[in-house]
Structures are given as C-alpha cells and as structure tokens.
C-alpha cells in the first residue's frame, strides 16, 4: 500500500472522526468538529445525525461554513429543530460535540471563559456557553486543541467552564459528562491515568513522548511504547476534502485574515442556495 499524503489538520480531523459512532445528534460549531462528523458519517458511522448549525438543520449533509450554516440547512430541506430539542438531546445523552477549549487541565476541566481571575480577567474570553450542560450529562466528552502548549494544556484551568474530574464531579455527577478524549496536534489522550489524569493514547506520526511532555503544562501519563495514531485512509481524506472545498479547516488552524475574506466571498458560489421563500418574496 502506498503512503498517503496528508496534512496535520487532516490527521487531527480524522483522529477526531474515529471517536464518533452510534446514532447521535452532532453539533456543528467549528470547521474541525463539523468535518470530523462528516468524515465519520461517510465512513464508519452512517447513523450520526449532523446539524447544519450549532442548533438546527437535522438530516442535512452540511460542510463547514463561515456564514452559510443556516442557508445550507434551509436549502437541503433539513428539519429545523429548536434549541430546546438540542438541550433535550444533551440531557438524554443523544448528542455529541467536539469542543475546542482555550485551556484544558490534567483532569479534563476546560476553560473558555477567562484567562486570569473571573472578576477582573487578564483576557476575557466568551463565557461558558453550553459546556456546563455537556459536561454534566454526556457519556462521551470530546475535546481538541490545535496548539498543544503549556498555555493550553495546563495543571489547573483558570476557570472551570466545563466539569472535569475532581471532588465536585465525584459528589454530584459521577460519569455523567466526564471527559473522555483529547485530540491535539501531538497525539490522542484520555483521562484514564491515576486519579483520572491525562494519559497519552497514541502519538501522531513523528511526534516523540518527550515533545508531548515538554509541550504540556502538567504531567502526562505516558505508557511504554505508545502506539502511533493511524494516518488517514484515502477514503477518509476523500470525504474530508470533498466537504471542505474552501479549506476552512486551514483557516481555523491558522486564523489568516485575508483567507477569511476570500472564503467569505467565495463560499456562496459553492452551494445550490435556492430557498423557495426567497424566490417568493423578493
């Protein structure tokens, strides 16, 4: 078998895709999360139900979008569901989402709220959004970090937007919403080390265990002879690339501003956006 050419973003997305399975509503917040769901659905997890936006458009086959999520759902005849439907799916554990936190700590607590103290932050981020709901109800909690560093993988998060392991979880939540996976640019991790601590599951090709430890702001449990993350298959790559013709994943990866503008201009040419209501009323 020939080696397949792939880029680091593609490896990460495919590693994320392989964690998904079963029949769940999968939310589409970020390009990486969206593409992981699309790849999973079109390879090993056909029963996933993808949303076109974070909260609506079930039964569609969306690709990542800067501004067209809702339009895709409408054009594809996706069933418009409500936020309440989404939270019902969260509370009943019929929901999956890949969350991209600003910080994650060795016990899987995550932070998207603030760097520094909450009352007067050094950097005010965005607020906990729906992570408290996810991290108290889902049986699978999936995180990814695109720049594994001591600033993103930390000993203790500055603010717990999502509940990792610790006394609060032991007392009130148990396994409901407990962290299960972390995929970074260096490897795949779980929280099955001693005392529910961060543990390496596989190293991405070419990454060393020393590099993982050095890039982490906390100790990482590293098993002897860790496996290598299997590279993307041709089938996985084909699905991924077909569903991201504008390479929005590269934008999430690198945040190039010019690239955003170009993609914003181009993306509406890529979808058959023809909603009957627009035709009727214009």
């Amino acid at each position: 078998m020939n080696a397949v050419d792939y880029t680091p973003d593609e490896l990460i997305i495919v590693a994320m895709a392989r964690e998904l399975g079963g029949e769940y509503l999968v939310s589409a917040v970020t390009p990486f999360g969206q593409l992981a769901a699309v790849v999973a659905k079109h390879t090993h997890a056909p029963d996933l139900e993808l949303l076109a936006t974070p909260e609506s458009g079930a039964g569609s086959d969306p690709w990542p979008s800067i501004s067209l999520g809702q339009f895709q759902g409408l054009s594809q005849g996706a069933v418009p569901i409500t936020m309440e439907d989404v939270f019902d799916a969260i509370f009943r554990d019929r929901f999956r989402i890949w969350i991209n936190p600003a910080q994650i700590d060795r016990h899987g607590n995550v932070n998207i709220t603030a760097i520094g103290p909450w009352e007067r932050p050094k950097v005010a981020l965005v607020g906990s959004r729906g992570i408290p709901e996810d991290s108290s109800h889902l049986s699978q909690m999936l995180f990814y970090i695109l720049q594994h560093s001591p600033r993103t993988v930390v000993e203790r998060v500055d603010f717990r937007s999502g509940a990792g392991w610790g006394p609060d979880r032991e007392r009130h939540l148990g396994l409901a919403g407990a962290p299960t996976r972390l995929v970074t640019n260096l490897g795949v991790f779980d929280f099955d080390g001693p005392d529910h601590s961060l543990r390496l599951r596989s190293l991405h090709p070419g990454v060393t265990t020393a590099a993982v430890q050095e890039a982490s702001g906390c100790p990482v449990v590293i098993p002897p002879d860790p496996p290598i993350t299997p590279p993307p298959t041709p089938a996985e790559l084909a699905v991924l690339r077909a569903h991201d013709p504008l390479e929005l994943r590269r934008w999430e990866w690198a945040s190039e501003v010019d690239g955003l503008r170009r993609r914003w201009q181009e993306e509406r040419a890529h979808l058959p956006l023809d909603h009957p209501e627009v035709r009727r009323w214009r």
């Binding site: 501004s67 939270f87 009352e119 932050p121 005010a124 981020l125 959004r129 408290p132 717990r160």
Partner: protein, 288 residues
C-alpha cells in the same frame, strides 16, 4: 388589530434602567436596528439578557449604555472576541453575570411557567456556580440525594426580536434557527418584533409551524428591512464581513470608535441602509 409602529417608537418606550432580552444568536438575526436605535436615543443603565450574545451587546457596551449583562456567551464567533465586552470585563466597566445556555433558557421558561425557579444539573462541577450569585443549590425533594441547581426566573422588561416575516397583528415567522426568540417573546413583559417584511395575516399563516411566535405574545411590530445587519438573516442575507471589519477596526482605537458612534447616532434605519449601498448594494454582497 394593528400593532405596527416604527423602530424609533418602540425604542422610545424603553426607559433608562430597563432590562432587555435580545433574540438571535451570535452573528445571526440579531435585532441590530434596535440596538442602534437604543444608542441613538441615548439609553443608559440597561440590563441586557442574552444567551449567545454578540454585536448587539458589544455595541451597547461600547456606547456606555449598559449597567449589567446576563449572558452565556458574548463573542464574534469566527471573527474572534467581542472587543468592548472584553474591555468591559477586563476593566470592570459594567456588571457581568455568567449563566449558561440552558440556564438562560430555564430562567426565561420559569417566568413563562409562572414558577420562581427551574431545576437542572447543568453547572454542577463548574465555576459558574462560584461566580454567579443568582443560582441556589437545592436537594431533590424526593430524597434521592441528588443536588441540583435552582435557576431563578428571568423577568425581562422587554424582548426585542428580529424575524423574517410578520403580520400587523404581531404573528411572526422565523425560517431558520429560532434560537431563544419564542421563549424571549413569551417571557418579557413587553415584546417588540422587527421584521424584514410585513405580510398579510393570511400569508403569514401559510408558514405553518415556522410561524413560531403568536400575536398574543407581541406588543408591537415594525418593518425594518436589513434590521439584523451586519448580522445575517437567513434566507434573506448572510452576515456582512466588511461591516464587521469596519466595526472591529473602529473598536480598536478610541477616536475611531467615537466617530463610529457618531455615525450610528446620525443614521435613521432608512439612512443606515442607504449608507451601506441601499438594498441593491447590500443584496449584491449579502444575498445568497
């Protein structure tokens, strides 16, 4: 029954110090014409309640109109952090109360269901409970030992919602994601709807279950084309990256921000559309 009025007249009914819940979500279907009009009329000391807040919260914070923000999220999504929200949080320029997505829903729903609170497990194990004094911890009254979060009722004075279509009686159809808009409409003491287009009631009814806001919840309705701009309003238009780029550049520097606010204060809703190239210019860039 005719509840049609102008956006100026709607906003004129909002006193300083009022609490307002906004519909929409992040860069989608935010009642931006209303937010601009609140700035134009110099409203002060507002309490803003949002689930996924964005440019509407940021503009009002940047105009000094806000006393307090109740939020699960405030940001510009793919465009990054909300500049004035960030500044106000970091410098303590307003009061902030961090909720979560479902607890905002539950707080509104408690008001709708005429109960002082609704219980949830959301928030357990997070620091939201540590920094938000509005919540209480309660025990399951049926003795399971489960601890729960009691979410207090949110009682906004006003709801402002921007929709695709409405009729003169206040029935409103939303074709894309409804976000928290139906809940906000039911929970607020006074609910005002702006719409892209007013249509006759018999046309509005054809939208079936997309007509998700019933007139019994609505106190006034205004036709405001492009009323969500620069956020998007599917399926009519998407968000305007050019307008957001201008906004973010202005917000980065005090003098430019003052000039930006001056322009907001000068332009009526109609002049605002003209400023952005009129319907033709906006459609050329933003229709999908």
């Amino acid at each position: 029954m005719d509840k049609v009025l102008t956006v100026e007249a709607m906003v004129a009914k909002v006193p300083d110090g009022a609490s307002i819940v906004f519909g929409g979500s992040s860069l989608s279907r935010k009642p931006m014409a209303v937010a601009r009009e609140l700035v134009r009329q110099g409203r002060r000391d507002l309490t803003l309640i949002v689930n996924i807040g964005g440019p509407e919260v940021d503009l009002l914070l940047g105009a000094g109109a806000v006393k307090k923000v109740v939020y699960a999220f405030v940001g510009f999504e793919i465009l990054g952090l909300a500049p004035h929200f960030r500044q106000a949080r970091q410098r303590g320029l307003a009061q902030f109360e961090e909720w979560t997505e479902y607890t905002v829903i539950a707080g509104l729903d408690a008001t709708i269901k005429a109960v002082p609170f609704l219980p949830t497990r959301a928030g357990l194990g997070t620091d939201v409970l540590a920094v938000n004094p509005a919540f209480r911890r309660i025990a399951d009254p049926f003795g399971s030992g489960q601890e729960l979060v009691a979410v207090p009722a949110l009682n906004p004075d006003f709801a402002f919602i921007h929709v695709n279509y409405a009729d003169c009686a206040g029935n409103a159809a939303i074709l894309g994601d409804t976000h928290i808009d139906p809940l906000a409409a039911k929970a607020a003491r006074t609910t005002f709807v702006t719409c892209e287009k007013l249509v006759p009631p018999e046309v509005l009814r054809r939208f079936g279950r997309d007509a998700s806001i019933l007139r019994i919840w609505v106190d006034g309705v205004a036709e405001v084309p492009w009323g969500a701009h620069p956020t998007g309003c599917a399926p009519q238009y998407r968000f305007d990256l050019d307008a957001f780029t201008q906004y973010l550049e202005a917000a980065a520097e005090p003098e430019r921000w003052a000039a930006y606010l001056d322009r907001v204060r000068q332009l009526s809703p109609e002049e605002y559309v003209d400023h952005w190239g009129g319907t033709a210019g906006l459609q050329a860039r933003l229709r999908v």
